[in-house]
Symmetry: C3
Subunit: 309 residues, 3 copies
Amino acid sequence: MVNLKGKDILHGAQFSREELERIMDLADTFRIQLADRPGLDLLEGYVLATLFFEPSTRTRLSFETAMHRLGGNVVGFSSAESSSVAKGETLADTIHTVDQYVDMIVMRHPALGSAAEAASIAHSPVINGGDGAGQHPTQALLDLYTVRSECGKIDGIILVLCGDLKNGRTVHSGVEVYKHFNCKLIFVAPEQLKMPAEITSRLKSLGIQFEETNDLVSAIRHADALYMTRIQKERFVNPADYDLLRNSFILTREMIEANNPKLTVLHPLPRVNEITTDVDGLAGAAYFRQAKNGVYVRMALLAMIAGKM
Amino acid sequence: MVNLKGKDILHGAQFSREELERIMDLADTFRIQLADRPGLDLLEGYVLATLFFEPSTRTRLSFETAMHRLGGNVVGFSSAESSSVAKGETLADTIHTVDQYVDMIVMRHPALGSAAEAASIAHSPVINGGDGAGQHPTQALLDLYTVRSECGKIDGIILVLCGDLKNGRTVHSGVEVYKHFNCKLIFVAPEQLKMPAEITSRLKSLGIQFEETNDLVSAIRHADALYMTRIQKERFVNPADYDLLRNSFILTREMIEANNPKLTVLHPLPRVNEITTDVDGLAGAAYFRQAKNGVYVRMALLAMIAGKM
Amino acid sequence: MVNLKGKDILHGAQFSREELERIMDLADTFRIQLADRPGLDLLEGYVLATLFFEPSTRTRLSFETAMHRLGGNVVGFSSAESSSVAKGETLADTIHTVDQYVDMIVMRHPALGSAAEAASIAHSPVINGGDGAGQHPTQALLDLYTVRSECGKIDGIILVLCGDLKNGRTVHSGVEVYKHFNCKLIFVAPEQLKMPAEITSRLKSLGIQFEETNDLVSAIRHADALYMTRIQKERFVNPADYDLLRNSFILTREMIEANNPKLTVLHPLPRVNEITTDVDGLAGAAYFRQAKNGVYVRMALLAMIAGKM
């Protein structure tokens, strides 16, 4: 019996397959319910704190929308400057204080491990909305949900993960949820940005099928879904290397139409240039639907940790 | 039959007289309803995004208040810095994403035409809350509504528009709504800041009565209402010219009492020095009531584009 | 009969003992009600403006939470930059405008007397959320309430106030409420940061018992409660003086356990180093409960000034 009441959401690896399926089923339920009414009253009277020490459009606004669609309310801040951190207060004291006010906390903070620190202090459940180069577990949940809703299933699919696999927190969180579904993973990255060895060796020991390549076109030919991520310019010492690599990982409409017209394309957004805008019009371009799914998945999480589901 | 369900609100010229009257009648209805209860539940469960890429007190807070008075909720940001624009995301992608979350979008952005661009992308209705030197249609609606509620009618009145008529987006949007009501318009501006020829020639072709002058005192003598606007210092090359012109367009209590004690005075606010504060106490000083009217008019618009009225 | 409907909350000295007790009793009622439901609907449809011209975590978030727990809504800003102050609007005009939109206003502003100025303009009740070096009356109310709820009573207790008693607005507001309860006050401060003579001489004329000392350990030995505040480094000309003084006013777990293990410890927060973190685990460490009490006390105030209680 799945029960997330009062639980913190900190890491992609914390979920069992049963929990993942329960979250996705509940997201489906909310999606259906919102098709014929604007909102629900499940969390009426509840208050969520959104503590964003770094800017965010998607994560903050979709959590706030999720809370409002459930009938709840939100307090918080969208940058460190408008909080008491400016007066020299420790993160621990800020969290301890806000914990007195609200029922649940979502936090984004630049320091790796900050969400876990907050969770160790707060009595209220803490949701990690991104802790620096660490984890972003709710992104992994909405990615997984989007694969299921676009491909009709997750078990046994071929999923290509492309881009900066070394530094990308969404792919690191993602691997932790895909591993439960017997999918075949294909990692496409330049040599310098490959998936860290500690992750690949763990996948081996778990018996997860995966391949590594730098040939995006071959990788997508038989894939069900492609998860694109941004290659971050600031990681390169030599700008010429960056330009070279970047150009080999631009997904275009022609590439999809020539090699796999039914390919499902995901991206955590924001994008820079790694998916050309003419891809947006393809039936398989799922990244804006993926953003929408973030609301349903976060509604599911909020309802479950509040003990309402 | 007036129906604004799902419509974008982009430009003062988009409204028919019938639509303008329907919006004002509905604003009246909400004004009466709020006289004996704090709020309604018409938009319960709905979510409005307020995307303010430039600061605003009046437009943002009155839209948010309007949404709350209708029972709805709000997500958004009040400056570009706390959004993902900081990460290099295009306006198009930001809008496309937020469109997945909410039911309606209000946007203020420094670029002329940005609201129209957003509307071309979003499935949700987009309301232009000011696009640079372009339009500010909801300001024009609340101005018109204030004229009607202060003067008892709009048809046939004499309305003076004074200040920077060349650059002022509120007067440009305003002319587009006044033209439906057979008012006589008197434009009072220094030579350098006259109403653009393209607007005056269009008014001529439409048969709208108007006069141009730089004598504010004569203009207000037989007027029903005066719409003051700020003369923007930054438009002048020679600061001495600015000071000279600015001083000829300061509305004082003495000017009103000596020439037209019953004059209705409007201003979109914020003001700098163009209306002295001793005017505030006059019965005809309507600019703060005008601000309040912004809530009723925006409630009317939100309810109508949501398809609830 | 206590009635705060429509009243401004500007200064700690404005309350009668009867009003203070009514506010605290109502805070108790809300605390009990929230023990078995997440929120109430007393202020459904009401809108509170939170106008924070300076950053704040506690005051802003606890007022916003209080409003949401009562079923109401909030509009506002959390820094001057995202308001029209940036366009040169006067505080008076900003307040006059926002007053048109909302039912109640909470304001924090760096200028002493700014809240009183706002109250003189606004028709809606104005709550002072801190006006520079002036007052912070709602902090005094929640401090008083915490003393009552931690110590079981206020009358006749011995209360130590320690730290920067010269500049601290929370102790200045505090003295104005403690004076109604026949408590004995012990002021512990370095010579340079003593309670201002105008306050001590007024206490004398009112017959309030108080002592002044710089010996914190002796002061707490027979005290019921200690109210610690931050010594502000920026007040000192000579940094060495600051370090010396600061070190004599650090409250440690050892000091409490050796001298008065049952001591109730309060602090308005944020703290820097004046209470070591190992104090947090003591039963008498009440400062985070005090933060929570801020929600109940502010709910009581909001409900009363709205005329609902």
